[in-house]
Symmetry: C2
Subunit: 311 residues, 2 copies
């Protein structure tokens, strides 16, 4: 019985992961690449950006665990076996990392620290007007595990938080709106809009000229989800016209962001290198192992992907 | 019966404050500068950086309210009447603003966002190792109203928080050390040291070559209190030798920070223009008015300064 670790990691990172998995599942053989001699024994796969096709033709494969919360890229691989259960990574440590990045972006925008950093470069001493957190409305779009953790963290730090999700499930201290009709309402009242939606056919290119126009003039946009949620040229137009004030972007159409991309040096754009919430080796392995052991014991693993919904 | 508003504010800011005070204390005359014709009637003073000497020879002055939490500069004015009670500003809105700035600095240092901003300027895409908040020990030096609010906010956001104060009064979830003997212990265990002490004879120049050497190698220093807590040349030496990793400075020996000061362009220094916690017009006026009304009714006002302690 064996497990395939299928990633695009550099060799040293892959070796660290493999060692952690071997230590946690000592009775499984752990392979770090496909080899015809092992194919018949592989029952489990633990994957991070696997090469397309790497999961095809594994006759005994019965469970795939993603290392990442987003499975949009995995689902676009037509060779992914339809009948094998696939689980997303839902890790409280990653949720907290995401909430920290969102809070950092909100503090910068609310308290104008990006402006102060610009002033430092210009050697300019100029205190700016200071507002209270409870005067700042922040919208969190997408209220899955990461969105919910983020919304609660922002509320705990004094912000007025609204949210938007497909279901509209209530969250304490968060003004939750639902379905298509709820989106313009949330966009219209927010000063800072944070995207934490899954990337699906419904949410692809959701942030475009029309939705940017539904935001308050000068609103700030924080994208911590996927690059393809955004029509990049519409975002640039909204920043350049003043419709949007600032954008904090962790994700892009092409990653790494190409050296000649205008975002790098745009004065109203902050670029992060897809680092808002990295997978935590220790906790993610523990969660994957628990799910794999559940499958081995005949239970349903946690956080299975609904392929019709796309997440 | 009248009140003197003694500040170094620009005329428009002074006029906003005066309007707010007049509205709140309609039965008092409010003067915005000394005038011999009014001196005999002045019973109250509400002050922000008053010119030295402006409070002398006011025969009926019976209470001075500072707009600011720090009264070190006021106490250095030898013409300040000894016998008149003096209160510091203790305003929950300011405490929260301070906690926000401290949290922003800690998030930047913990999650390496300052490094990511540097990378953006170099058009460099490089995710950096991500650690958990509960692995990061933050020390808050000074546990008055602002220090206590800050320590609690950091603990609520998952950090391991220690603190240091003269009294050592316990705070839930914070590892509090006391007196001179406690300082090296707190400095030795912290990865980020935040100064929120009052400036007194005991704390002047407290951050010097000796105390920087007591910190962990590569520790970060955040000064949100007073410039004269720090020996600037020792701070620069500690940054340049690598003993300190980064400094976030809101306060300086000379403010505004002179254009030729090395801090402006030092790669390991973040400069803020004394904006960590600005006085909030509405709440500060309400607190001053409550204190003034207490004195008029014969009660002891809140947050009187102990001149022997210096705060």
């Amino acid at each position: 019985m064996s497990l395939l670790l299928a990633t695009d990691f550099a060799p040293d990172a892959l070796e660290r992961w493999a060692a952690q998995v071997r230590e946690s599942l000592p009775d499984l053989q752990v392979h770090t690449r496909r080899d015809p001699a092992h194919d018949a024994g592989i029952e489990f796969a633990f994957v991070a950006n696997p090469a397309p096709g790497v999961l095809r033709d594994l006759p005994r494969l019965r469970f795939v665990q993603s290392m990442w919360a987003g499975v949009d890229k995995l689902l676009r691989d037509p060779t992914l076996p339809d009948e094998v259960p696939l689980a997303r990574m839902v890790d409280p440590a990653m949720n907290r990392a995401m909430a920290e990045t969102a809070l950092w972006a909100v503090l910068n925008l609310h308290r104008r620290f990006f402006d102060y950093l610009d002033q430092q470069r210009a050697k300019q001493w100029q205190p700016l007007p200071q507002r209270r957190a409870n005067e700042v409305n922040v919208a969190v779009l997408g209220l899955g595990e990461m969105g919910r953790t983020t919304a609660l963290r922002l509320a705990a730090n004094g912000y007025r938080v609204s949210g938007w999700s497909r279901s509209g499930t209530p969250i304490a201290r968060v003004d939750v709106h639902a379905r298509d009709a709820g989106l313009p309402q949330v966009l219209a009242q927010a000063e800072i809009v944070i995207n934490l939606l899954p990337l699906t056919a419904r949410t692809h290119s959701l942030f475009n000229a029309k939705t940017f126009a539904q935001m308050r003039r000068g609103a700030h946009f924080v994208n911590l989800a996927r690059g393809h949620h955004v029509v990049e040229k519409d975002l640039l137009a909204a920043l350049d016209s003043g419709q949007l004030g600032h954008a904090v972007l962790d994700v892009f159409h092409t990653e790494p962001l190409p050296a000649d991309h205008v975002f790098w040096s745009h004065p109203k754009v902050t670029v992060l290198p897809h680092a808002a919430a990295q997978t935590d080796l220790r906790s993610a392995t523990a969660i994957a192992v628990a799910n794999i052991n559940a499958v081995r014991a005949g239970y349903t693993p946690a956080h299975l992907v609904d392929r019709a919904q796309g997440y």
